[in-house]
C-alpha cells in the first residue's frame, strides 16, 4: 500500500521533471465524479440513458475552451439492489479522488445509501429516484436532488384526472416502495378532489399476466385505471386491457412515461395520460441542442425520461467544482445554496432539504409520442381521451 503510493508519487515527480511545464492553460487537473445507477437488469434502460446523458455532459464540459478542469466520469452499477448500492457507494465515497456523485434511479437503493454519503461526506445529486424520504427523511447536507418527488406527481395526477370528469378509479401498483409510495400519494390526494378508488391491486413488479386482475376491473367498470409502477408494468396492463376489452382511461406515474412504453404498447398507447416532474425536451431552451448532441455522440440507448436530469445533475456538480475547486466540503456548501441555477431541465432551486422545487406536468401519448398536455390535440378538443369516448 505505502509502497504503491510512494511509487506513483515517484513516477509523478519523474513525469513532471521530464515534461517541460507548459503554460498553465494546458495542464488542467483531472477531477473525478461518480455516476451510480442500474446498468444491468430490468431497469438498465433508464440507467444506461442516465449514464450516457451524464457522460455527454462531461464531454461537452471538457470541450469548452475555458474549462478549468478535465472531468472524468466514473460509472458504477448498483444493479438496482440496495446491498450492491451500499457497496459501490462506499467504494465511490471512500475514493478521495472522487469529488461528487450523480446517484441512483432506484428509490430502494437511494434510500439505503444516504447514510453512506453522509458518513463519508461525499456530496451527491440524485438524478432519478423519486421517493420523498430520500431528501425529506433526513437532514444530511450531502444529499441533493434535481428531479421531483412522487408527492408532486400524485397530487398533479389526482387534480388533473378529477378535473377531466373522471370519478371512479382502480389502482394497480407494484409492491416495491416506488409503487406503494405512488399509490399512497395518489390516494391521499384523490379523496379531497372527490374521486373514488373502487379497487387497489398490489402486484409483483415482474408479474406477466394481469388477466385475472383485469377481469375483476372489467366487472367494476372504473373510469380510470391508474398505474403505479414502471414501464414494463404499464405496457403489460395496457396491452392486456385491450385484450379483455376494458374501455377505461389509462393513466400512470412518471415510471411509465418512457419511449419504451409507447414502443411496447404500440397502437394501444394512444391517449394514455402520464405525469412527470420534467417538461418535454422541446420545452427546454436547450432541449434540441441536447438531443442533437446526444444523437451525434452515437450512444446505443435513448436518454429515456431521466436522461435530462442526469445531464443537469452532472452540469450542476461540475459548475460547483469549477467555482470552488475539487474540495468535497466546499462543493457541498455551494450545492446546498443552489438557487436559480440554469439547467437543461429548467431552473434548479433547492429548498431547505436540498430538494429541487419542481411542479409536475401532464403528458399524453399522441401519435407515437409523449406530448405536453397543453400542446396536445386532446387539450385542444380535436381528439378525445379514450376513457371519455367510451361513454363514461
Amino acid at each position: 500500500m505505502k509502497m504503491k503510493k510512494s511509487l506513483s508519487a515517484l513516477a509523478c515527480a519523474a513525469l513532471t521533471a521530464l515534461t517541460l511545464q507548459p503554460s498553465a492553460g494546458f495542464a488542467k487537473d483531472t477531477v473525478k465524479i461518480a455516476f451510480i445507477g442500474p446498468l444491468t437488469g430490468g431497469n438498465s434502460a433508464t440507467g444506461l440513458g442516465g449514464r450516457n446523458s451524464a457522460a455527454l455532459a462531461v464531454d461537452l464540459h471538457n470541450a469548452k475552451p475555458d474549462a478549468k478542469y478535465t472531468y472524468e466520469l466514473v460509472p458504477f452499477d448498483d444493479e438496482c439492489k440496495p446491498n450492491v448500492g451500499v457497496q459501490v457507494a462506499t467504494k465511490a465515497a471512500s475514493d478521495k479522488s472522487i469529488i461528487a456523485g450523480i446517484t441512483h434511479y432506484c428509490s430502494a437503493v437511494a434510500i439505503a445509501t444516504v447514510e453512506t454519503y453522509n458518513r463519508f461526506g461525499l456530496p451527491v445529486v440524485v438524478w432519478g429516484a423519486v421517493l420523498p424520504e430520500i431528501t425529506y427523511g433526513n437532514d444530511f447536507k450531502e444529499i441533493h436532488r434535481v428531479n421531483g418527488t412522487m408527492i408532486n406527481e400524485g397530487k398533479m395526477a389526482a387534480e388533473f384526472l378529477t378535473k377531466q370528469g373522471f370519478k371512479t378509479f382502480v389502482v394497480i401498483h407494484d409492491t416495491t416502495d416506488y409503487g406503494k409510495g405512488q399509490n399512497k400519494y395518489f390516494a391521499e390526494n384523490l379523496k379531497p378532489q372527490g374521486g373514488d378508488i373502487v379497487a387497489t391491486f398490489a402486484v409483483s413488479p415482474d408479474q406477466q399476466d394481469f388477466t385475472a386482475e383485469l377481469t375483476k376491473v372489467k366487472e367494476l367498470k372504473p373510469d380510470v385505471v391508474f398505474i403505479g409502477g414502471l414501464t414494463p408494468l404499464g405496457v403489460r396492463v395496457r396491452s392486456q386491457m385491450d385484450r379483455l376489452g376494458i374501455p377505461a382511461q389509462l393513466a400512470g406515474v412518471s415510471g411509465i412515461m418512457s419511449a419504451g412504453f409507447i414502443e411496447g404498447a404500440g397502437q394501444a398507447a394512444e391517449g394514455t395520460v402520464s405525469f412527470h416532474n420534467g417538461a418535454p425536451l422541446t420545452k427546454y431552451a436547450d432541449g434540441k441542442a441536447f438531443m442533437d448532441a446526444y444523437t451525434k455522440a452515437g450512444y446505443r440507448e435513448d436518454p429515456d425520461a431521466y436522461g435530462p436530469f442526469a445531464f443537469s445533475a452532472a452540469n450542476l456538480v461540475m459548475d460547483a467544482i469549477d467555482k470552488v475547486g475539487p474540495d468535497r466540503k466546499k462543493v457541498r456548501d455551494v450545492l446546498n445554496t443552489t438557487k436559480g441555477y440554469k439547467a437543461l431541465v429548467g431552473e434548479v432551486n433547492f429548498d431547505d432539504h436540498r430538494q429541487n422545487i419542481v411542479s409536475a406536468n401532464v403528458y399524453v401519448a399522441q401519435d407515437g409520442k409523449w406530448v405536453y398536455w397543453p400542446d396536445s390535440a386532446y387539450a385542444a378538443g380535436t381528439k378525445k381521451l379514450p376513457g371519455k369516448t367510451a361513454g363514461n
Binding site: 452499477d77 446491498n83 457497496q87 459501490v88 462506499t90 475514493d95 430502494a108 447514510e115 416495491t176 406503494k180
Partner: protein, 397 residues
C-alpha cells in the same frame, strides 16, 4: 484430486523435515493470502488482471508440477499450520488496510458469505439436502437483528437468537424436505425463498418493500460503527466488522471441521452416499438430515444478522432467488465440502464482479461466462473436498 492421493505417502516421521515442511506450508499460505488481500484492495485494472493470471498460474503449477503437487499435499497434511498462518495473515491484512473502508467492507462481506457457505456445506455437501433459499435464511437473520437490535438485548445474544430463528423457520420446511430428495427437495426450498420474499414485500409489519433499519453491532457497549481509531491509529469503522466476520467464519470453520471428523460427519457422509445402506447400519437418516439442515440454517442466520448490522438496513430484496444462487455458486465453485474453496469462491463471486466495474453493462454476461468456464473445466470446483482416508487407522491398527 491428484494432490490428495499423495497425502498419505508423505514421510512425516522426520522431525527436522517436518519443521521445514511447516515453513513451506506457511509461506505458501502467506503468499496466497497476500495476493488475495492485494486483489481485494487494488483498483488498477492491469493489476487485477495480472493478479488473476498469477493465481490461475499458481493453481496450475500446484497441480501439474511434481513440486507443486508436493507443496499442495503438504498443505493438506498440515492443516494446523495452514489455519494458523491464515489467521495471522488475515490480521496482518486487516492491520495494513485498516483505513480502507471499501476493502474492509468487501473483506467482511466475503467472510460472512463464506460463513453462510459453511452452513450450506453442512446441508448440501455433508447431508445432501439441497438448499436453494440461502439468501432467505440470511435475510431472516438480518430481520431479527433489525427487530431485536434496539430492544436492549445484548447483541451477541441477538446473533444467537437470529441463528435460532432461522433454524426454527427451517423447521417448517423440515417435513417436506425430509420426505423428498433431489430436485423435489430443491423446489421446496426455492418455493420457500420466493414465498418469504413476496410475503415480506406485501406485508407491512416488517417495513414492507422499504425494509427496516438495522442498528449497528455493539459489543459490550462499543458500537462498531462509531469506531474511528484504535490506540494511535485511525481505522475504518468497517475494520471491527471485518474482524468479527473473519472470527465468525473461523468459528463456523471449526464447527464444520469438528463435525466432519467426528462420528456425525461419517454418519452424514454415509447418509448422503447411500441412504439404504446407511439405514441398514442403524443410522437414523431423518435425524442426521434434520440436524444438518437446522444447524446449517442457524449458521446462515447468524451470518445474516451481522451482515444486516454492517449494512445498517435490510429489505425483502435481500431474500431474492438471485442471492441464494450466489451462495450456491460459492459452494459449488469452491468445491462441495471444502471450506477453503468456499473462501476462494467467495472472492471470485463477490469481489471480481466489483473489480469489473470498468466494463459496466457487460459485467453480468462476462461474469456468467466465467462461472460457466469454471464449471465446465473444473467440474468438482476450484478446490475439491479432501476425500476421507482411513488408511492411517488401518496402519495403526
Amino acid at each position: 484430486m491428484s494432490m490428495l492421493q499423495l497425502a498419505p505417502t508423505l514421510d512425516t516421521a522426520n522431525g527436522r523435515s517436518v519443521g521445514l515442511q511447516r515453513v513451506v506450508v506457511a509461506l505458501t499460505v502467506a503468499v496466497l493470502f497476500a495476493g488475495g488481500g492485494f486483489l481485494l484492495h487494488t483498483e488498477e485494472q492491469g493489476q487485477v488482471i495480472a493478479l488473476l493470471a498469477a493465481f490461475v498460474a499458481l493453481f496450475a503449477l500446484g497441480e501439474k508440477l511434481p513440486a507443486g503437487r508436493r507443496v499442495a499435499a503438504l498443505c493438506v497434511a498440515h492443516p494446523g499450520t495452514v489455519n494458523l498462518t491464515a489467521a495471522v495473515m488475515v490480521l496482518a491484512i486487516a492491520a495494513a488496510l485498516r483505513e480502507e473502508h471499501y476493502t474492509l467492507l468487501m473483506m467482511a462481506t466475503v467472510a460472512l458469505f463464506a460463513t453462510a457457505a459453511a452452513g450450506l456445506t453442512l446441508q448440501m455437501a455433508f447431508a445432501g439436502v439441497p438448499n436453494f433459499a440461502g439468501a432467505a435464511f440470511f435475510a431472516v437473520g438480518s430481520y431479527v437483528a433489525a427487530v431485536l437490535g434496539t430492544s436492549g438485548i445484548p447483541h451477541l445474544l441477538v446473533l444467537v437468537i437470529a441463528g435460532l430463528a432461522a433454524a426454527v423457520l427451517g423447521l417448517l420446511l423440515l417435513l417436506p424436505v425430509l420426505r423428498t430428495r433431489g430436485h423435489y427437495a430443491a423446489l421446496v426450498t426455492i418455493a420457500f425463498g420466493l414465498l418469504l420474499r413476496s410475503f415480506l414485500e406485501v406485508n407491512d409489519v416488517l417495513g414492507g418493500p422499504q425494509g427496516m433499519k438495522v442498528p449497528s453491532f455493539s459489543l459490550f457497549g462499543l458500537s462498531f460503527s462509531r469506531v474511528t481509531e484504535i490506540g494511535p491509529y485511525d481505522v475504518s469503522f468497517y475494520l471491527p466488522y471485518a474482524l468479527a466476520g473473519c472470527f465468525l467464519f473461523a468459528l463456523a470453520f471449526a464447527v464444520v471441521r469438528r463435525l466432519e471428523f467426528s462420528f456425525a460427519g461419517v454418519a452424514l457422509d454415509a447418509v448422503r452416499s447411500d441412504e439404504v445402506s446407511a439405514s441398514v447400519f442403524g443410522l437414523s437418516i431423518a435425524r442426521w438430515k434434520a440436524t444438518a439442515f437446522l444447524m446449517g440454517n442457524a449458521l446462515i442466520g447468524v451470518a445474516g444478522a451481522l451482515y444486516g448490522m454492517m449494512n445498517a438496513f435490510v429489505n425483502p430484496n435481500s431474500a431474492n432467488f438471485g442471492d441464494s444462487l450466489i451462495m450456491l455458486s460459492i459452494l459449488v465453485l469452491g468445491g462441495l465440502g471444502n471450506l477453503w474453496g468456499a473462501v476462494v469462491a467467495s472472492v471470485v463471486i463477490l469481489v471480481i464482479p466489483e473489480k469489473l466495474q470498468a466494463i459496466q453493462e457487460f459485467r453480468l454476461v462476462i461474469f456468467a461466462l466465467l462461472v460457466i468456464a469454471i464449471l465446465r473445466f473444473r467440474p468438482s470446483g476450484l478446490m475439491p473436498r479432501v476425500t476421507r482416508d482411513f488408511s492411517s487407522f488401518a496402519k495403526e491398527g
